[in-house]
Amino acid sequence: MKGKTLDTAGVEDAYDRIAEAIDAAGEHSELFLAKLALTLAWRCGDPAVVEEAIRVALLDLDAETVRPAR
């Protein structure tokens, strides 16, 4: 992906915060993740970045469909 990205420390902070928020959302975690994704899509402001993020997130969703290592 192009454009501004978080550094590793920033990603690690986001990782923790999202994990904690999923736990806090409890049974509403799916709704929370949808709200988060929509908010981040709006914040990012670049449809191409959103599309690429969706593409990447759809990869390797379960063990049977994991792409073979190169």
């Binding site: 709704l31 949808a34 929509l38 908010t39």
Partner: protein, 584 residues
């Protein structure tokens, strides 16, 4: 033999008139070739007949029923629909009884989460929405058709089949006294979503059906609420679904709600079930008043269109041509635009003024409009009636976000039906010499306030109209001279001059407030040519007679070869989409 219901329909607010079957001359051996036969006397068929009548072409209108349709159905007329009805000379009863409105509110979990004001300019005679029940719409149009003396309205006459050849179409009609054949040079299929004509010709829709069933219930109740659109998402009594409430004339209220996915339409219309839900709606809006049920039905949402509205000498309009979602009031309002577009083209071809190719432009322009509406209406429908788990989750995420955020609120906009601009129409002459921000060819003719209750569109006669702006006598004289010399190719053509008070006279409208000139961004000498359906098709500064004549000729399709209507309409479907068939 066809035997429609002849007892008046029951209604709390409308006295249905049962129209008798009148034996037509064809049943006694007369051989008549009619100019145009229209199948279906719903709003679209009736406006098409009136549009033809305005341009001097008679029609035969066959209707299977003995009375106008039942229930409120298409209750919201858009501004454009009102303008079209005005253009065919039938507007006054709509103005007298309709309820104008321009705003809507959406609620979620007891909070008002979105308020939308639809644009309403003081220069527009009509409001963005006017609520009028469909049986009233039809009754007013029937009255106008009968008054015209140009429409042979044949009630209790069902179309059961048709055959067409190189010179015309033969309709097979069934009546209470038996069958007969009616011959017409052209047929308009305005026989609704379950069109017999479409089925007989084996034509298939493209697009998609949406899951879910919706109930409409019309009730009489004394509610102290304004005329606006109310939408309630995810009410406690109908979790995950939504409810719409509209005020109708006659103390009637329209309630629409989606059924739970596991409930059948038959179960939803059980009197006790329906009564319980109506009671819950009234509780929800804080008005638990006494009420009476007038009518109820169930519908589904679709975004379907034929890929071509012309099949030889048969032309499709309204729900026979497309099935569009109710969200955004797209059904009948799209049909009125079909009727306005088709009526004048059919009249010009029938009168021998325009070539057959003009009829291809009807399909080109209106299929493009339907595809645009399918795209927009599809978005509204996917929000109001999520077709999958993913869409439901995103809808719920949006509703949850709007409780605290402003930015997602536009996603709740229901994208009200709007007129299609025929910007790529082959009938347009490119604009020359006008302000770049002025109205362009393809757009509907903008209205403008001339006085307290006096508007520009009300002054436009039937046919092509040259609308010119002149501030001084010399400019006016030059424009009048050029318009008088222009070759209109036999088409009905007139000029309307927009002038300051000092130049008042016959064929002129006085723009004392300067509002028409401002809305058109017009300089003295600017002119626009309007088609008979009140869409612009040319614009210039000080056009000469040759330019005016050429633009009228182009708008009549005189330069078109058969089948060259401008290519594939915008938004063409893929083959995969075309494979989908759906019926309401």
């Amino acid at each position: 033999m066809h035997q429609p219901r002849t007892e008046p329909r029951e209604s709390l607010y409308h006295d249905y008139k049962v129209h008798p079957f009148r034996r037509p001359p064809e049943m006694d051996g007369a051989r008549i070739e009619h100019a145009v036969a229209i199948v279906g006397a719903g709003p679209v068929g009736l406006v098409t007949a009136l549009a033809l009548a305005r341009l001097g072409v008679p029609s035969v209108l066959v209707e299977a029923e003995a009375q106008v349709s039942e229930g409120s159905r298409a209750i919201v007329l858009t501004r454009r629909s009102m303008e079209i009805i005005q253009s065919v000379g039938a507007i006054e009863p709509f103005v007298a009884t309709g309820l104008p409105w321009k705003s809507g509110r959406s609620f979620f979990r007891g909070h008002e989460v979105y308020r939308m004001e639809m644009p309403h300019d003081d220069d527009d005679r009509f409001w963005p929405g006017t609520n009028t029940q469909q049986q009233l719409i039809e009754q007013y149009l029937v009255d106008a058709a009968e008054a015209s003396g140009m429409v042979d309205l044949r009630w209790q006459t069902a179309c059961t089949g048709l055959e067409q050849d190189d010179t015309g179409v033969t309709l097979l009609l069934d009546t209470p006294e038996g069958e007969y054949r009616l011959r017409a040079r052209r047929v308009v299929a305005a026989d609704g979503g379950r069109s017999t004509v479409r089925r007989c010709l084996g034509l298939r829709f493209e697009g998609r059906n949406y899951p879910g069933h919706f109930v409409i219930a019309d009730i009489r109740a004394d509610l102290d609420l304004p005329t606006e659109r109310l939408c309630f998402f995810d009410p406690d009594w109908n979790p995950g679904n939504n409810v719409l409430v509209h005020r109708e004339p006659g103390g009637i209220w329209r309630i629409d709600f989606r059924l739970p996915d596991d409930e059948t339409p038959e179960a939803a219309l059980e009197p006790e079930t329906l009564a319980a839900r109506i009671g819950q709606v009234l509780e929800m809006i804080g008005r638990p008043v006494q009420w009476q049920l007038d009518w109820a039905t169930v519908y589904t949402a679709n975004t379907l269109t034929l890929p071509d509205y012309r099949a030889g000498r048969v032309l499709f309009a309204g729900d026979a041509a497309h099935l569009l979602p109710i969200f955004g009031v797209r059904g009948a309002n799209t049909g009125f635009q079909d009727a306005g577009n088709l009526g004048w083209k059919l009249a010009m071809v029938e009168r021998g003024i325009a070539p057959e190719a003009l009829l291809d432009t009807y399909s080109h322009e209106r299929v493009a409009a339907a595809r645009e509406i399918c795209a927009e209406g599809g978005r509204s429908t996917r929000f109001m009636s999520p077709p999958s788990r993913g869409y439901r989750l995103m809808r719920d995420a949006t509703l949850s976000l709007v409780l605290s955020q402003e930015w997602p609120k536009p996603l709740l906009h229901w994208r009200t039906s709007r007129p299609h601009d025929y910007l790529d129409s082959p009938l347009n002459t490119p604009p020359a010499g006008i302000d770049p921000a002025a109205p362009v060819p393809g757009a509907p003719v903008p209205d403008a306030r001339l006085g307290e209750d006096d508007f520009l569109l009300g002054h436009l006669p039937a046919g092509f109209v040259l609308l010119g702006f002149a501030d001084d006598a010399d400019t006016l004289a030059a424009l009048e001279r050029n318009a008088a010399r222009a070759n209109a190719h036999g088409a009905p053509f007139s000029a309307v001059w927009v002038v300051p008070p000092g130049l008042a006279g016959a064929g002129r409208v006085v723009d004392a407030l300067g509002r028409a000139r401002a809305r058109y961004r017009a300089r003295s000498g600017d002119c626009w040519l309007a088609r008979p359906d009140q869409h612009l098709c040319a614009a210039w500064h000080r056009p000469d007679a040759a330019a005016i004549g050429a633009a009228v000729g182009r708008a009549l399709g005189l330069g078109l070869a058969a089948g060259s209507s401008g290519g594939e309409p915008a938004g063409a479907a893929t083959e995969g989409e075309r494979a989908t068939e759906g019926e309401r």
